[in-house]
Symmetry: D2
Subunit: 376 residues, 4 copies
Amino acid sequence: MRLTIAGDSHGKYMIAVLEGIPAGLKIDEEIIRRELFRRRNCYGRGKRMSMEEDAFEIVSGVWGGITTGAPVTILVPNKAGNPVKDVRSVPRPGHIDYAAFVKYKLPDLNVYVERSSARWTVALTAAGALLKSLLREFNIDVLGFVTRLGNVEAKNIPDNFEELRRKRDESAVFCPDPEATEGMISEIDRAKEEGNTLGGKVKVIARGVPAGIGSYSDLFKKLDSKIGSLFFAIPAVKGVVIGSEEMWYGFDYLDEFELEDGRIKRRTNNLGGIEGGITNGEDVWVNVFVKPIPTTGKPLNSVDLRTMEPAKTPYVRSDVTAVPPASVVCEAALAVVISDALLEHLGDGNIDDLKRRFGNENLPRWDDGFWKEYDR
Amino acid sequence: MRLTIAGDSHGKYMIAVLEGIPAGLKIDEEIIRRELFRRRNCYGRGKRMSMEEDAFEIVSGVWGGITTGAPVTILVPNKAGNPVKDVRSVPRPGHIDYAAFVKYKLPDLNVYVERSSARWTVALTAAGALLKSLLREFNIDVLGFVTRLGNVEAKNIPDNFEELRRKRDESAVFCPDPEATEGMISEIDRAKEEGNTLGGKVKVIARGVPAGIGSYSDLFKKLDSKIGSLFFAIPAVKGVVIGSEEMWYGFDYLDEFELEDGRIKRRTNNLGGIEGGITNGEDVWVNVFVKPIPTTGKPLNSVDLRTMEPAKTPYVRSDVTAVPPASVVCEAALAVVISDALLEHLGDGNIDDLKRRFGNENLPRWDDGFWKEYDR
Amino acid sequence: MRLTIAGDSHGKYMIAVLEGIPAGLKIDEEIIRRELFRRRNCYGRGKRMSMEEDAFEIVSGVWGGITTGAPVTILVPNKAGNPVKDVRSVPRPGHIDYAAFVKYKLPDLNVYVERSSARWTVALTAAGALLKSLLREFNIDVLGFVTRLGNVEAKNIPDNFEELRRKRDESAVFCPDPEATEGMISEIDRAKEEGNTLGGKVKVIARGVPAGIGSYSDLFKKLDSKIGSLFFAIPAVKGVVIGSEEMWYGFDYLDEFELEDGRIKRRTNNLGGIEGGITNGEDVWVNVFVKPIPTTGKPLNSVDLRTMEPAKTPYVRSDVTAVPPASVVCEAALAVVISDALLEHLGDGNIDDLKRRFGNENLPRWDDGFWKEYDR
Amino acid sequence: MRLTIAGDSHGKYMIAVLEGIPAGLKIDEEIIRRELFRRRNCYGRGKRMSMEEDAFEIVSGVWGGITTGAPVTILVPNKAGNPVKDVRSVPRPGHIDYAAFVKYKLPDLNVYVERSSARWTVALTAAGALLKSLLREFNIDVLGFVTRLGNVEAKNIPDNFEELRRKRDESAVFCPDPEATEGMISEIDRAKEEGNTLGGKVKVIARGVPAGIGSYSDLFKKLDSKIGSLFFAIPAVKGVVIGSEEMWYGFDYLDEFELEDGRIKRRTNNLGGIEGGITNGEDVWVNVFVKPIPTTGKPLNSVDLRTMEPAKTPYVRSDVTAVPPASVVCEAALAVVISDALLEHLGDGNIDDLKRRFGNENLPRWDDGFWKEYDR
């Protein structure tokens, strides 16, 4: 599977193309609508958001609601037209402005924001949401939520997946801990008042991923590598930890095996469901560090690149934090990565064939006869 | 540039192939020798290490010490022959054993360790060390060191690069803080006694990387994405944070601009030298979370996959920690990533041409005439 | 550079995404308009063509007519709406119908034509035409024309490029030999009457390509491999020969060197401008074998896949031949391949930098000082 | 699956790395030995050949004769040591000499031949031969032979595959037509006397390839595109035609369907077994144009790049023709392409799982229930 994302934040469309989707898959557009809505509607988002309805259109690869095996293209129209703006020459710390100017050398910083703003994550969100229709066929569920905002950390995170989802959905900041939610809302209010912006952390979990997904052949097909590759493409993401961040002592960290009704279980899941680049049947979970938005409400020190004189960053209306929407985007990203690795494992063709392949291949027993001709 | 790594830990060779290296580059084999030696010689490494001399041979792409533009192949012989071993059927928590058995279904866990052991990082180390001969031509320097081992954290890290390197090299665990080094050695001794293993953290810095390296075109050519992709392929790596982990408030985190002698400077470098996927001229720095080695000195709970009865993991002689060598490997990984992005920026051909291209393209001034035909 | 093409022939848009285009390039939309018109307007095209105006829109990566370095997306709307059609279960020989049904297993052959019809080549044509704005900056010109249709072969092909273009453009079938053009028109008329379809051959030339483009590092970066990879993705293409098809004797075939005013010249160009995967400074030229359209005007023998009874292929209004439009498509394909290889050579960033790099690197002299430190 | 090939013709080894091979596959080294022998031993090969024994070693990814899922590395030692040679500054027409000098700018043409000589095809031959152990599991057989040498064309080519193989193997030039073989041997003798070299044509057939292999999703996953990509990477290959070269009239060319015992058959196979980028169940067959060797026995006109004076190409002992060994190399290339596409279709893991997947998925019937929820 290959995902291509294009689009400028004030262009006509954001575009996602998914190649390698099996044929015969029924796409539930409601999921896409819901995830785009979630990405847009959370506490702390600014005015631009409400100008965009995040309608979307699937313009290829789907016929009567069913995939055809051809590339699937999703277009998300940008509602906010491109206002005539003055040339901007004062770069904002934390944004691509300066770095892109040095590389691309076009003398208007407005240009670079078109590609590098978080607007393109709407296309990633749509692509991930579309792939949930695929994951559902294999009983794989993906869920993302906020675990930290500014200095407020979530403490009580339900273990039960449905409760976790419900509590998250009840939170204006997608944090399943109601008490922390209140603290986070206060953080947002205070930051807004100060003109400050907030970073934080997000956790994403994939439940139901079978053991054996990923690879140790090509280094870049290791599931960890795929996670690193896509998550670090998300603008606000500056850090990714797979599984527990507390990894100081082997005895505390390594997930021992036990048997439960004759089946293998783990007591803990510090490793995040991946061992050696391949899933081990436990939840795949990822912690993501999300940086504060670079567009602050009070000016920061900068330099006017035109005059090479000190200058202050301009005041631009913006969100206070990208952490809650980042939880939606990261959920989508994990859906993309798991789908990609799952399809690499199962091959291509018709979804019913892939499901049959999947169904026929339960966990191996030691004496299954594999490698039968091998003589040591 | 493309890096391919192959080799089994008890096979004849570990193999690294680098495609896309410019012609005419003088390779300093001494660097490779030194880095392989560093990877092998640090406190806490077990006996296997001393059995390997990490000789290496460059068998293609270099003629008389100069690259030819053809793929460069490095072979690192494995000295430790493959001992006859019994079939192993008890998976070790934290290792690929169980996950790979489910995927590949060959009934001997010894098989999977061949590819998934950290032994292949010797090839990555060699490849990164070779690329230092490239980076040197552009005055780019890469340095990695240990910042945490078990519960001991480094506090005093010199800002001066040469002092940093010197202090790191004086430390048996590659930690530039002498006091922390002592603590870390104690941690290792204690862990060894207990049969425990240690995780920790590593920091890698690339100094001298020019602004403008990376891209915002293809998502996966963003420098962050490249870092995520390669670092997460390293067996022991479970987490990567680019720049500071303290990213909770915009005012504290965003690196403001200032002018110094008419040149743009930053007061801080929390962003780790990358904005929007492109370097901004500051040091690129990365924190890496390294998990404890899964082969503990005391048995862990497991299951015998042959009998499906509870079992204990076998005692295998092993290192206590992979953190110090991981600092060498991560240094190599950053050298690979920076080289790759630099070559994408500069194109291919002869190194002298690339250097001329590089030299001719200083930072743009606003009125440089780029985009001159554009009429707003 | 990476080209992604999506779109169903009756969907809303055909989509081309180009990643890795340098910033600051002025796009001449007139070229795109012209090439789309040419693809559509030639003798022998059927009715569907006139229903499509091949309007197009560049919806990303271009700001005020100038590229920004972000992915460039071109949308070409499909004018012909999707008529309600009966399920089709009789596969046409030569079309994807049967092969795709076996793979994707959706019981309506209409589905597969959506992706596999030649309609997607409109997106390739647009992408190639857009890249002509890039090639123009480097004085590279690409030209395609018909050399054979049915049994009629072109004999008199002008050597002068401008004359060649003019004569081609005067021909209703894009054949620069006026006499052959007449014969080809007769072939088309006769075939139409008989319900037959016509194959043929196309020649594409890239003039002005500097020596040194391509690579011998990665096998798949050899220019020949890139040509094979893209040309064979074009639906009607079944054969590709680089340079002369008459390659039986070394003495006749190999292009000897001579000096003209102190510069190296070749007497002949049988090798098609590529030696060892790298351009040699002569014209790059490619012969393409184009198969007859699988939708014939008289029924062919087939099988109804629903009943597994013998059946005849349905009558569907169609073109008689794809050879003239294929000459437009192949011209675009060569523009894509040359652009891709040129950008790999020159790197990325701003077009003016790339032009300076290009300008600074004339042909090497033997004593240029490259490899100066090498001591044999 | 990904194939990487490295190695210099006078370096220690030629290297092939295959990533993505399933685990549990028994490798028959005898096939590799046989194909390397065939590549080396045919009429018209020069002296260098006999100096090489083409021993080979599989140094990774295989354990006790069985693949492990890890990358498979094959090393083929180069027996001919690197003789001390004078600097060479006179480029040979048809070889990479001049083009590579312009690109890489190293002042010794001997350098470029290291990578660009046909010597690396020994690694491709070994890789393809190894993959025959995979194809055999799916009853797929690949066969290549010479159809033209100089002006002599094969006429009588047996349709029966075993007879075809036998006759080919009896021919000193791998041409299954005994009469043509004689003519070809005369061509070689005459060419040798004249110092001339010979081009020709090769045909490669894959029998037993199931319908449904390939894809119409990503353009570059079409089977035709994969064939073009790999075949045009082979040094001597200048042309590739899939199926019949006679493609002028639809009625003559398109392969009509018929029923035989209730199964779908074709009367002809002009399309070469691929429709729309996907196999249709017929033999996949490819014609390959092979150029004459650029090292002629009598000097050609050239230029001394050092002095920029006219010069003659040096006399170097060489083969008269690469066509017979090219038939071996192209057979290997088709084995690689078909394996790659087959594995993309079937996914990864253990070979026995892949065989079960394969076995469970016979040709679909129209009413198989795929796409069952679709409501037009």
